[in-house]
Symmetry: D2
Subunit: 299 residues, 4 copies
Amino acid sequence: MQIINVCRFRNGVKSRVIKPLACFFTSSRTMAKSKFEYVRNFEVDDTCLRNCYIVVRLDGRNFHKFSEQHKFTKPNDNRALGLMARSARSVMEELEDIIIAYGQSDEFSFVFKRTSNWFKRRASKLMTHVASQFSSSYVFYWKEFFGEQPLLYPPGFDGRVVLYPSNRNLKDYLSWRQADCHINNLYNTVFWTLVQKGELTTVQAEERLKGTLAADKNEILFSEFDLNYNNEAAIHRKGTTLIWEKHDETVTKQIKGVNDERKDVHVTRSKKIVQAYHCDIIGEEFWQQHSNILEDDGC
Amino acid sequence: MQIINVCRFRNGVKSRVIKPLACFFTSSRTMAKSKFEYVRNFEVDDTCLRNCYIVVRLDGRNFHKFSEQHKFTKPNDNRALGLMARSARSVMEELEDIIIAYGQSDEFSFVFKRTSNWFKRRASKLMTHVASQFSSSYVFYWKEFFGEQPLLYPPGFDGRVVLYPSNRNLKDYLSWRQADCHINNLYNTVFWTLVQKGELTTVQAEERLKGTLAADKNEILFSEFDLNYNNEAAIHRKGTTLIWEKHDETVTKQIKGVNDERKDVHVTRSKKIVQAYHCDIIGEEFWQQHSNILEDDGC
Amino acid sequence: MQIINVCRFRNGVKSRVIKPLACFFTSSRTMAKSKFEYVRNFEVDDTCLRNCYIVVRLDGRNFHKFSEQHKFTKPNDNRALGLMARSARSVMEELEDIIIAYGQSDEFSFVFKRTSNWFKRRASKLMTHVASQFSSSYVFYWKEFFGEQPLLYPPGFDGRVVLYPSNRNLKDYLSWRQADCHINNLYNTVFWTLVQKGELTTVQAEERLKGTLAADKNEILFSEFDLNYNNEAAIHRKGTTLIWEKHDETVTKQIKGVNDERKDVHVTRSKKIVQAYHCDIIGEEFWQQHSNILEDDGC
Amino acid sequence: MQIINVCRFRNGVKSRVIKPLACFFTSSRTMAKSKFEYVRNFEVDDTCLRNCYIVVRLDGRNFHKFSEQHKFTKPNDNRALGLMARSARSVMEELEDIIIAYGQSDEFSFVFKRTSNWFKRRASKLMTHVASQFSSSYVFYWKEFFGEQPLLYPPGFDGRVVLYPSNRNLKDYLSWRQADCHINNLYNTVFWTLVQKGELTTVQAEERLKGTLAADKNEILFSEFDLNYNNEAAIHRKGTTLIWEKHDETVTKQIKGVNDERKDVHVTRSKKIVQAYHCDIIGEEFWQQHSNILEDDGC
């Protein structure tokens, strides 16, 4: 990017005498700001409907290529999953109104509580802030997960906002994403097992799996490779769910005693921290165990 | 962030024999994905009106604090401005339909051509992608501009989308931002001159400038500090405008001659590159010199 | 409105011989329809968020003037209220997905069930159809309520759409309108009693009521005019609520007997009809008695 | 519609002594209005983008059935077309910011000037008011066009809003509607000629026209029925365009002369009236002759 100072003068001559006309803000021009301010009225209000959960979902842009260029292990790369979760935590810590986040593969969904008034519920602000914080965190924390392996270029994520009026709808949304995780991971697990252990080419593996059902895939793993899919790592089968949890923290403070001697005192403080789970969120069990996540919608 | 595998078992006992029921995707559950897919219908279409310029503006989140924590020089930090422009260029190179971008301070505006069909003109996709690419680039290129000074935490930018139906409206939008740059920079220049050279406290400087007009501020600079505001760096007075320009590149290639000897041949290729300007874009001159930026709107 | 056929001819002469060029659709022009069809893409999708109640509220345009020109009795004109309710019923009968409607003064609100898919939930279609059907009905049924008194000009109503995600929100919306009815009607009742029976001018009556509370207004009615506000007609105090109710209808049919003689048979059929109520809908009682109106939102 | 006063009493007895509890607004309930007012925040802003033409198009609901029930002549009923135009004029006279309206068959489009600020450019208000005024006018003026033939029920029209950023887009929109008029009218003219004069059944006529081009249809009319389509009434071929025109009106006033005798004086006043045209609006000629309709969009 060359930087050129293109303030051009009327007669083409640069001199101290001749005023750079095009570059000179006369006071009348300065006044002009008010003349231009009408353009603000072209902004439209995109306030999210009240009393609905606001979901922001991010998806990696061209992450197929990105994962190959950065040599992600197949079918799952724990460094990459860890970095996704770390970036998601960074988003949650910046935006406390997020009550739950769920991620798998190169996507992450963030749920704002239904009564949230962050950014006055303006959809554009909410989704761009989530996309921005996530993306800068992804680069910032890269080293924590990939060590000396360099990040080759800044990655991109796009996002969207979806509203859910009822607890049922929200739970169904999260179930939809987890069901998607399950289906993809089962497929990928069998596919890469066929390639890595079964010594099939990728084309052969694809051919082999065409038309198979979940039961068929489980059977291939079990009978041919002695693998029980249910013993695969939960993080791969269930994705990552982040929620806020109270956490008791014991800190040791030194205080002065009556005779001026120093004493250690243990103080317990309660703090909300982001906790990661890799479990089923489709059934009611998770929601019963964490009944404070969803708000009663007063119906 | 502690990672807990909370697949809980029905009888509360963890054992290898008993199947973790809540964690087990039966095939009937797998089928369930279709049951949940209705939630997709809650997404709303946010296609931008056709034949309008689409402007995405990003603003730094809490950059006042960010600039202090990272010891930005006052009133302008050229490293920070350079990093903003570098990140903006990264956005433009990712999204070729951006015809012009304008930045100043901690904000940057990106203009998509009126006929653009990127992401099917979906506002959410456009703005989150710009916000994401800009933010990851900001962290990625930090070192190029700040060297060994560490980035303390991942910064955030929020964004919005505004549509402009006519060339006049778009030019007025950009003029509005440049007039804003002028007003703020004049103020900051005088303010920090009073503090840094005039040895006023910040409170005194603020007091001194209360109610002053542009002419008064120019006068303070000139009569008290022998400074002509118009000689201040253009990048500070005018901000940064990025556009695409054709650039002839001469490359040398070796070819084989008739007698098999090697010859050097010079080949000139035309390439579009992002060019930075720091000039007035309020007057018509800039637009006449770069008449290919704006499209005729066929009226 | 004069009707002029202004197909003008190139040479300015009207003649049978010379072809009216501007008016001639050549086949190439006809083809043009496809050329213009791109304009359809400027329509934006305005689908209402799923699983929310859709409320369309209509308000009379300039009904203050309209009511004076048509000599409505003060403070309430039962003919006008009857015509409003009749028009609202006409809307409900056209759009069966409306589960409840509430009206007072010159306004009427229509509530579509949360699972409605009428017009694919397109807000523009829903509200314009309600506004249109109501307005044509108002003119159509005028005579039924105003007899020989002529309608002087076609009245206008404007409308809006509001979404409510929960049963609580919807009930609060209706309560808001009924509380508005109460406040206005109490005021108007006292005001017009002061004018009509107390022989105050309208200015004096307004002055008298300035700053008074509900209790004060009740007291004026009771102590000065021996009126108990609670004995005023319910239609005026509570407005009009329309809901669907099952109604058994006994019809008499003639059938042929074994010996060919004719016999009367009574057949009872169940039919849904629109029923009007003038009662409190703020408390829970109404909703308990008509528990089928609101849907469970599955939370 | 039965009117029942369902204020139910706690003990189920209707009496003057016992207070109707459910119907009694205690002062605490009255206070409640503020408690409910939060529901206003669920309304969303639907302001139309500035500097765009706002088009409201109405379409008759179930007009196929309506036209049969009211015995409209085929292929065009001049009474019905006149009533449509009369209703459209009523809309224009109510909403002066409408600069042009175009109608054909059972549809009418209304164009608000790009700088209009009617109803603060709120889409819902604009389209419902147009739909309402048109519909009430349709019933109101029915008699003027259909005389003693009764209107059987109140008709419905639905509407939509579309924005057009440039003059070209707007003209293309109107061209699209007029091209639609041409195609439909040519088809209907041939179809009904085949039925009415050619004594084909409707099924036979449909079969005959399957796959024919415009030229084929013109040829059928000309060679078989000696009809030149271009001689058909312009109102049928071109639809109806309504615009505002200045109109000089000469009124006669009586004034008192110097000797107190009365004299007639002729005064000419200029007045804007709605004028109807039935001509081509696809070509540039119409727009050149009425160059004041469209605003320069300052590009």
